[in-house]
């Protein structure tokens, strides 16, 4: 033991001496060298006469930058029209804005011609447009036209290649040189060079194309879309794969790639180099030579070993278990891999120089992807290693948001394309870049409602706003009685008693005219009566009379007390993006019948808050009326009682969160007969605002019940998934039913 210590000591001593003699000298020289460098460091001189230097321009010259002899603005614009065409098209020169003035942004799709087969993908795109709220069947109303000819695949070698497109297009009377047309394309050019050639003259049409390169992209005119597979769902779409937020990212791999290695031809430069960064531990980069018929002809020395390694890993497994995914160019610039990585929350590391990224006009890709350079492949590992764990988490979440907002279905891709074009038509009524890149995404934010962020329920926290301190009570009346019933009088009294109530708006949905103003109860808040059109969807129309952020939606026979209203409103102010209300219902998956079930019985869960008594943001009226396609509202109008389910589904689809139930007093009006309805059928029956436990479902009740269940299934079908989310909680006042003095409690009456 003693000798060992001695040896250790001696070693230390020796190494110290060595360092002193040799290393020290080396270091010294190095330090001296850098010291000299610092000495030589020269900055830009401080000129002695810098204060008398002349300005770059005379003030007069800067302010009078005009020349009346120049072309007049109108002439100049006219001249542009002839100069800036085809490859230099811009909205100002190649798009006829005046077509959109009268009817707004309407899109016409050419009727399908017989004997003109259309690929599955293109028919999905067409049906997305037809399902959108902008579609019009009348060409004279249209602002934008979409061809019925399938232009997606312009690879001559492909089976979907349509011949003689030029000829066909020229035959269309509406073509007009391509003005106001939108052309979709996924593949252009063919082996070996894969040019941007489409094989026909698009004229002045806007091109929405995948794998767009920045050089041929006409900024502010074309739209770059992602490459998506033909199995991409029409609507709905799978959710992202990120189920947990962890820091540091708990993934097995840091960076992965598995794909083809091109031995020759375009794109081979990048793909050939990818194997260099493989380290077999946290960086897996696997390539195979096996593709095409004659790969063995070009095969090099690596191929056989690579092909063996390649089989050892599963692509899906790598995708699931890696933090970053390399998305290199293929033959073309874009690849399916891009969307796959996005969905998998595997942060894309793009190696595709000159690719105009999908929707880059509005999407800030710097927040969701690492835009690398093909030339700097070898720096990628160290660059991604250096990204802070918090930033990685933010990246991951952003991939999921973008995937869900713009890419998960053909509908979303097509609607995003349309919205981008629509935003250009009136720049002052368009979405700011912030809106496109923050939850819930650009498609769900209507600039026609407002361009002020504080008017939406989504951005309060991000921008330091708070929702308005008052609400509007919005009461729908459908009852027949010529005079006002007792319940509604009580309701007006209770609601107007709330200190937060700014106004009461009554939607009178009866044939009979409303009672004269003298008949209405006197209340401290202004009362407005709106004559409705007697449609169920009317209750969610964005009436101008509603002036506050918060709407308290009520049926005439709802029974609420002032403190219930007060408490619910205080809760809503904490959750302004959700529906906050009293009676609730829930949905469930009925495995036996293979469909969604619905129950109004008392359960431990809830996913629907009845709008017979609920707070929500007034923006949802606009979304309901403007965002949802007319067909969906017609469906609801046709059924007896489904509009509230649709509203719940809509809000859940926007927020991805469940509604909130708040404390409700015990109901006293059990078994009150249903109000006489003002007309049979059409207006539907006002629902009882409270779910009676084990209510005896009468014949009317069961019809209503089955209609609601059908409705729920139709909505799930239309959305492509079931947006409703369940919650297991109810929010009560802090001292609710606690055994403390009533005097201490702020809302004692809720406990009666």
């Amino acid at each position: 033991m003693q000798t060992r210590k001695k040896y250790i000591f001696l070693t230390f001593l020796a190494s110290w001496l060595l360092l002193f003699i040799f290393g020290g000298d080396q270091l010294r020289r190095f330090a001296f060298f850098s010291g000299r460098k610092a000495e030589a460091r020269r900055s830009w001189p401080r000129w002695t006469d810098r204060s008398v230097l002349k300005s770059f321009a005379d003030p007069e010259e800067l302010q009078r930058d005009g020349d009346p002899s120049l072309l007049s603005p109108r002439e100049r614009r006219a001249a542009w029209l002839s100069v800036y065409r085809s490859s230099r098209c811009r909205m100002e020169t190649c798009f006829d804005l005046s077509r959109c003035d009268r009817h707004g942004f309407k899109v016409f799709t050419y009727p399908q011609e017989r004997g003109q087969p259309v690929s599955e993908t293109y028919s999905k795109i067409l049906s997305s447009i037809e399902r959108s709220r902008y579609h019009t069947p009348r060409p004279e109303e249209a602002c934008l036209f979409v061809l019925s000819i399938d232009t997606l695949d312009r690879d001559r070698l492909s089976g979907h290649y349509v011949r003689d497109v030029d000829e066909k297009i020229r035959g269309f009377p509406l073509w007009n040189g391509g003005r106001n047309h939108l052309i979709f394309n996924l593949y252009s050019g063919t082996w070996p060079s894969y040019t941007r050639e489409l094989g026909f003259d698009i004229g002045q049409a806007i091109l929405a194309k995948a794998s767009f390169d920045t050089q041929s992209f006409r900024p502010g005119f074309d739209v770059s879309i992602p490459l998506f597979p033909k199995e991409h769902p029409q609507h709905g779409g799978d959710r992202g794969w990120l189920h947990r937020d962890s820091v540091p990212p708990k993934k097995k791999y840091l960076l992965v790639f598995k794909g083809k290695r091109y031995l020759t031809g375009i794109g081979s430069g990048t793909r050939n180099a990818l194997h260099h960064i493989h380290n077999g531990k946290d960086i897996i980069s696997l390539t195979t030579c096996k593709h095409g018929k004659d790969w063995e002809k070009h095969k090099d020395t690596r191929c056989d070993k690579d092909n063996v390694d390649y089989e050892r890993f599963d692509y899906q497994e790598l995708l699931h278990n890696s933090t970053f995914c390399i998305v290199p160019r293929g033959r073309r610039l874009g690849s399916f891999r891009f969307l796959e990585a996005l969905q998998a929350a595997c942060i894309p590391v793009l190696l595709s120089d000159g690719w105009e990224l999908p929707f880059a006009e509005v999407i800030d890709w710097g927040k969701a992807a690492v835009v690398g350079s093909e030339r700097l492949l070898l720096q990628i590992p160290s660059a991604v290693r250096c990204i802070h764990p918090e930033r990685v988490l933010a990246f991951q979440q952003q991939t999921q948001f973008l995937w869900d907002a713009y890419f998960s279905s053909v509908d979303k891709i097509v609607h995003t394309t349309l919205e981008i074009i629509k935003d250009r038509l009136s720049p002052h009524r368009s979405r700011s870049r912030f809106l496109w890149n923050a939850l819930p995404g650009g498609l769900l934010v209507l600039p026609d409602f407002s361009t002020h962020l504080g008017d939406f329920p989504f951005y309060y926290l991000q921008h330091g706003y708070s929702p308005s301190k008052k609400f509007t009570a919005f009461i729908r009346v459908v009852s027949q009685a010529g005079s006002l019933s007792q319940p509604i009088l009580r309701l007006i009294q209770a609601v107007s008693g709330s200190q937060y109530c700014a106004q009461i708006v009554v939607l009178w949905s009866c044939e009979k005219p409303p009672p004269p103003s003298g008949k209405w109860p006197q209340s401290s808040v202004p009362l407005t009566i709106i004559q409705g059109r007697r449609k169920l969807s009317d209750r969610f129309f964005p009436f101008g009379a509603i002036q506050t952020d918060a709407v308290l939606s009520l049926d005439e026979d709802s029974s609420l007390s002032t403190s219930e209203v007060d408490f619910a409103f205080s809760v809503w102010r904490s959750f302004p993006e959700r529906i906050v209300g009293f009676p609730t219902q829930s949905h469930f998956w009925d495995a036996e019948q293979q469909r969604w079930g619905y129950t109004s019985k008392w359960t431990n869960e809830l996913s629907i808050v009845l709008t017979a008594a609920a707070f929500y943001h007034r923006y949802y009226h606009s979304l309901f009326t403007e965002y949802l396609p007319a067909g969906l509202r017609e469906l609801v109008d046709g059924l007896a009682a489904c509009e509230d389910i649709l509203m719940n589904v809509l809000v859940a689809a926007v927020t991805k969160l469940p509604p909130i139930k708040v404390t409700q007093r015990k109901q006293h009006k059990e078994g009150v007969a249903q109000q006489a309805e003002c007309s049979e059928g059409a207006a539907g029956s006002p629902s009882a605002p409270h779910p009676a436990p084990a209510r005896a479902e009468g014949t009317g009740g069961s019809r209503r019940f089955s209609q609601r269940q059908d409705c729920l299934n139709q909505l799930a079908d239309w959305f492509g998934y079931m947006p409703l989310v369940s919650s297991q909680l109810r929010l009560d006042p802090v001292l609710f039913k606690d055994q403390v003095s009533v005097l201490r409690k702020k809302y004692p009456s809720l406990e009666k």
Binding site: W16, D25, A31, F32, G35, S43, W44, P45, S55, F56, A57, P59, Q63, D65, G66, D67, P68, L70, P73, L97, L242, H243, R244, D245, V247, D364, G366, K367, S373, R375, S382, R385, C386, F401, P427, H428, S432, R433, F434, L439, T451, H452, H463, G464, F567, V571, S574, L606, K666, P693, V725, S727, L729, R730, L731, V734, L735, F736, K737, D738
Partner: protein, 719 residues
Amino acid sequence: IMCASAKYNTRGPALIPRMKTKHRIYYITLFSIVLLGLIATGMFQFWPHSIESSTDWTVEKRSVHDVPVVKLPADSPIPERGDLSCRMHTCFDVYRCGFNPKNKIKVYIYSLKKYVDEYGTLVSNTISREYNELLTAISDSEFYTDDVNRACLFVPSIDVLNQNALRIKETAQALAQLSRWDRGTNHLLFNMLPGGPPDYNTALDVPRDRALLAGGGFSTWTYRQGYDVSIPVYSPLSGEVDLPDRGPGPRRYFILSSQMALHPEYRLELEALQAENGESVLLLDKCTNLSDGVPAVRKRCYKNQVFDYPQVLQESTFCVVLRGARLGQAVLSDVLQAGCVPVIIADSYILPFSEVLDWKRASVVIPEEKMPEMYSILQSIPQRQIEEMQRQARWFWEAYFRSMKAIALATLQIINDRIYPYAAISYEEWNDPPAVKWSSVSNPLFLPLIPPQSQGFTAVVLTYDRVESLFRVITEVSKVPSLSKLLVVWNNQNKNPPEDSLWPKIRVPLKVVRTAENKLSNRFFPYDEIETEAVLAIDDDIIMLTSDELQFGYEVWREFPDRLVGYPGRLHLWDHEMNKWKYESEWTNEVSMVLTGAAFYHKYFNYLYTYKMPGDIKNWVDAHMNCEDIAMNFLVANVTGKSVIKVTPRKKFKCPECTAIDGLSLDQTHMVERSECINKFASVFGTMPLKVVEHRADPVLYKDDFPEKLKSFPNIGSL
């Protein structure tokens, strides 16, 4: 390779080495001797030189007139015209920039020369005041290097800010003979006034081959997106006139046009607008009858009224910025400075720094054809938004327009962001004015995810020596269905944890970590052993919580994964008498905090608590052995902007053998200390982040008249 980012210790507080004390001392002594020796060596060898080098930092003092003269032969080469297809990946040599831990590009500035042609006539003015300021700013910035071999970007000292002031062919020749010109690769030119009569090109006419152009007045046809940088036209008035920030709010005029020499066609349109809307539109022009000595550029007239320029811009809500012969106008800078919202009417104009600035938040862009509709378009903008645009406009001026330095640094930063995209400055940093940066929160867990129930939670029990109580807690908590792991943090260094065989046998893994020091912060360390997102922090004496109560707490956390979900709630109040915050543990109608004696939260907050806690809060907590829960409440509320969720009626942690540290303790000193914590933390955070709410979460059917056995959480506990 070293990362710029800090390496985080993921293992946790170091475990105590199992070395015998005697040996340890020996080794430590030995090691420190060697270390001392090394330090002495270093001092001896390097000391004098380091002093020398730090003082040598010479700044030349010469006159501009003394710079060397370069004669350009008539036949010296001219670069090719700018290549419109240039992009970063085709015309820029990234290899020159390299990977570096700071992620900063290096910029070299050529030294100043005076260029003359064969006949000795000057090619251009040597350098303008603004260009000198710009180069000085670059030279003083972190981007600068004087080593031409290490540079990634080259800035010629040839001043091309104003095309009118230079001879095009000769300037091009001067560029071509720069030592590293190489077809203009990685060279950056700054130009603000491009083009000249009669056609006024929208980009600099000087042939420049592959050089990048930072230009004012690009149109969509000349701007090479992702390659060029669009910059403002600097207004020298910014330096001369001090316009104090007027703040947002209504102003005397609604629309104002201050530009002189507008095209008559535009003027007609504006006059029509004025005729229609009267007083609220003010249409200014140059003054015709000014007395001598008054600079015409500082006055504007409407009929016989004389206004000071640019002060008058502050009197209007919107200010029109029309294109002139060129697209870029210096008036834009004046308008922004005045906090007036610019109404930009210049089709195809690329707005300054549009690659990073969100101009929709600060301006209104109206197509030329829609000029007649201007009034109604502007009227449709909500007042609150106008106020924000005013604030935003002023902020853009302050940050990116006010000086040549601001313009230069923003330009370099944009290029830097392209080369190191993974270290790029975010949208928020570019665009949010300081007031918004202060009042807004960006929730790090912003995605609305409801974590799957199957993940479960990890219970973290901090314990010192109450073994008996600890075992009871473990037994109780292990009954909760969603518990997936139990982690005991053994905070006692003087005593070993009980032997394995003595621990209760439970159905989930039980891990014990020993800490190096008895610190409260150990409770919030992001241990690797925590594999779930949900963490249940629980004290070793909390035995009164029922299994239903805990399971329900977890279910509530799943619905609010970015919040603290706890049982007894507490409140902070403003004490008007003492003028400070006060801690309240009475049974109030409101809550703003929950005790972390038992609380669910996301593991991410452990990470934040350990590595990102502002100021000295962490040390303060460890020193005072108190308030770690208040600190956590502050942290979470501050980063998410959201309130806590109190669950179930539970008001206190009552237990027979509990000692003093029960939150409800009437111990006066305890309350004083807690209040002190709140005040201390509020001052460190610079604000009071806690949010007060009136609600708590109960099971849907809580206290409802419904058979208990059908309820999911029948045994939800009591006060």
